[in-house]
Symmetry: C2
Subunit: 480 residues, 2 copies
């Protein structure tokens, strides 16, 4: 493979350039003509489809349904919840004309749909019989990015899902927040093989308009933390301005309790950063569009016929097991070129088969994650492939777990904190709960509170900034 | 059921009002705050999901892949193919600002994505090895509607899929156009139980920018024809301005051959109009979110326990057959209310079960389409339900086929034509092929050429307008 085609920088030497090369050269994505916007090529979209299907199944199993909301929201509606509006307005795209006609009330392209969804919910919900309402929307959100953009991580339009629920009681809404966070955590850990830390955001970092925000966070190999999904308890902050109320069983009119939550294609960005290596993408088998690629090796025409026949037999056998298998029978490329090509694309397993293998009734298996080779006899092909894919999935998670754990450090004083932040660490430190200390940390080090873990200690240590008693430990890092 | 809750007009007395009541009261959709925009409620979205999944499977089985394109297209790009741009520009929504900043090149909200897709394809395609490219996009399109809008039929944003393919040869592209039209026809006939007529559009009615457009059409109960899906042969009309070219096997640079095609949620509109009746929606089982609803009937608590237990047993048995079953165990409504409620929502089968049925080891089955009742014994429950659903699907198609056939008439002179158009007929008439005669017909009668059927006669009759020899028969109707 020529240098131009392969990845030309090392992951630990120029992480940012490495990332960009991987997303483009593995054909996941490309830049659209408008700055800050990307397209998804089929290989990238296919990963999104697996992720989407996994989340969608879990949402349906817990009583959620899907709906559709238009992308245009009138300014008057968007501005109804003031804090929320103030948070989004600098990055809103505005439609001012249709054809040559000026529209009266300007139309925002959806930065998120709380306001639109709840104006509808207010019409649909009359009585306790109509509750709960648990609707999810698979769509895209638009937020004009002024900072430098990065495929999957920061773009002015991104694919996501946003869920919006309404409940009769506070308790039920709070439970919903946790049900969703757990669905997110499971999906990311089990499908994407990325361990996460779950907990709450600080007041400063919560979603604009929420009572509180729960989050799942991880840290990337460059030492920057990534927010990977959030689930918000909205209390009655939106139900009051949007008039989402119901007659309860005692016939008393009551404002409802609400939640909203979302994950985006940012998860694909995390996947690339956490598992990728100098050769390119490394995909966990559960979300790999192709789980194993079969490379037939031959020089003579008679070898070719025999090898291709066997390769297709193996493919058919594995397809019956619902595995995703591709035979690369392109004549115009050498096996060596193909090895590199599929390695760059992160296909979890390579199955090599040539005349010598055929003579021994075996194939050669090569794992993408550790490049280890092994022989696999024809008679064991099904269970051998399934086992290898399971092992790769588990090993990727184990490796990522170790990477995360190695980054996490407890610090008790601010000097140590400043030093470790420079090393790209995910720091657990005691914090008094005061926003001023949080801001001091941000100013002095660039680090935010990423998450206050649910299992954080509330020991009697002292805040690393002001020295007053700590309310609880918080986790700090610089972020994406 | 109170009048307010049920449908208050008859389908054949006020078709337009009937339609509006059905889409709103069956909770398929609702009006968004911006005029011309609608939301999909879960019941409506679920129908869309079945339709989507059916098309998606067929597209994947024929080698198509999915991708994502952003909704924003720069004006400079959209205007690159002049005819195309002129066709869409009066209905384009324009973004002029992001936050407080004016954007330079105005951004169009995607009315369709030919221009954006092909600017990307031109980067991705270098050689014959990169062909064919067959990518589909599930998204929404935005076209500001100035005429009166109608849920599913005419809205300023609509859900659809748009496919965009690139081929090395003209023949292959033409074949693709037909492959897709056949996928559409199969889906509409087999899933939605609506028969269609396939053929070509006239030059006047073709897609702006296409060489020719193929279409599938049907006629609705109000005598207006509905275009239900189109598949376009674009020739090199876009590949030239967008520079979509490749080195062929002889290393000669060649402009590629292209197609584009789409169906939208308009198909749900067709489904409602064709099958619905005075009681509301009638859903074909294949796309019904709930295929059978079980209504437990009881008066005493002991009856309730026994009946609900059996109802849930039946449900579990049927769920194992992958049927979509719901037990309506709401205590606050009478069985009669529930019957009406589910009839309005078009659930294909109702299963009634009460103590008297239990004593006889049977349930009562009620078909939504013809309201016929029959007994079904517990021991035959699985095959009985499956058989009933199959029969409903087939009968709905048969009934729709008859409705269509009854509307189709051959006419040979213009006076007769004018009279029959007033009766809401779908007229087959000889046409000389001249756009002037087509325009005369439109002006005098309001009817367009909907489709020139692939199996149209090219007999030696005379054009109904000018009397010169007919090129071929065409099918005329007033349209949506």
């Amino acid at each position: 493979m020529s240098k131009e085609i392969g990845i030309t920088v090392k992951k630990n030497e120029d992480f940012s350039e490495w990332y960009t090369q991987v997303v483009i050269k593995a054909q996941l994505t490309d830049y659209a003509p408008v700055k800050g916007l990307i397209v998804l090529r089929p290989y990238g979209y296919s990963i999104w489809e697996f992720l989407k299907s996994s989340i969608d199944q879990k949402l349906k199993a817990t009583g959620h349904e899907n709906g559709f909301l238009p992308v245009l929201i009138p300014e008057s509606l968007l501005s109804k919840e003031a804090t929320h509006f103030a948070g989004f307005t600098p990055e809103v795209f505005w439609v001012t004309h249709s054809g040559d006609t000026e529209v009266g009330d300007r139309l925002a392209l959806r930065p998120t749909s709380e306001t639109l969804a709840y104006s509808m919910y207010s019409k649909w919900i009359k009585s306790w019989r109509d509750l709960p309402v648990k609707i999810n929307f698979w769509n895209s959100a638009l937020r004009a990015e002024i900072k430098s953009t990065k495929p999957f991580l920061r773009t002015s339009e991104f694919l996501w899902q946003e869920g919006h629920t309404v409940h009769a009681t506070k308790e039920e809404a709070k439970e919903e927040v946790m049900t969703i966070l757990d669905i997110y955590r499971k999906t990311v850990e089990e499908e994407l093989a990325i361990p996460v830390i779950i907990g709450k955001k600080s007041e400063k970092e919560k979603f604009v308009g929420a009572v509180y925000t729960t989050t799942m966070e991880s840290i990337m190999p460059d030492g920057k933390a990534l927010q990977m999904g959030t689930s918000h308890f909205l209390g009655q902050n939106f139900s009051k301005p949007f008039d989402v109320k119901f007659l309860d069983k005692q016939n008393v009119e009551t404002y409802a309790w609400q939640t909203s939550w979302g994950v985006s294609w940012r998860l694909i960005g995390a996947l690339i950063m956490v598992h990728g290596d100098d050769k390119g993408l490394v995909l966990p088998p559960r979300v790999a569009p192709i789980q194993a690629v079969i490379i037939p090796i031959y020089s003579s025409q008679s070898d070719k016929d025999a090898v291709l026949k066997k390769a297709n037999e193996i493919k058919d056998t594995l397809l019956k097991k619902s595995l995703r298998i591709h035979v690369d029978s392109r004549d115009e490329f050498t096996p060596g070129y193909k090895f590199n090509d599929w390695e760059m694309k992160g296909v979890p397993l390579r199955i090599e088969i040539g005349p010598k293998d055929m003579a021994k009734n075996k194939v050669v298996l090569v794992r993408r994650d550790n490049l280890k080779k092994s022989d696999l006899f024809f008679e064991n092909i099904e269970e051998g492939i399934v086992k290898a894919l399971d092992e790769i999935q588990a090993d990727l998670f184990g490796k990522a777990r170790k990477l995360l754990n190695d980054r996490i450090k407890n610090v008790a004083d601010f000097d140590r904190f400043k030093k470790e932040i420079e090393n790209g660490m995910f720091l657990i430190a005691p914090w008094c709960g005061d926003q001023k200390c949080e801001e001091t940390i941000k100013e002095d080090t660039g680090a935010d509170i990423r998450v206050i873990p649910f299992d954080a200690k509330t020991s009697n240590s002292s805040c690393i900034v002001c020295g007053t008693p700590s309310k609880s430990d918080a986790m700090f890092a610089r972020g994406y």
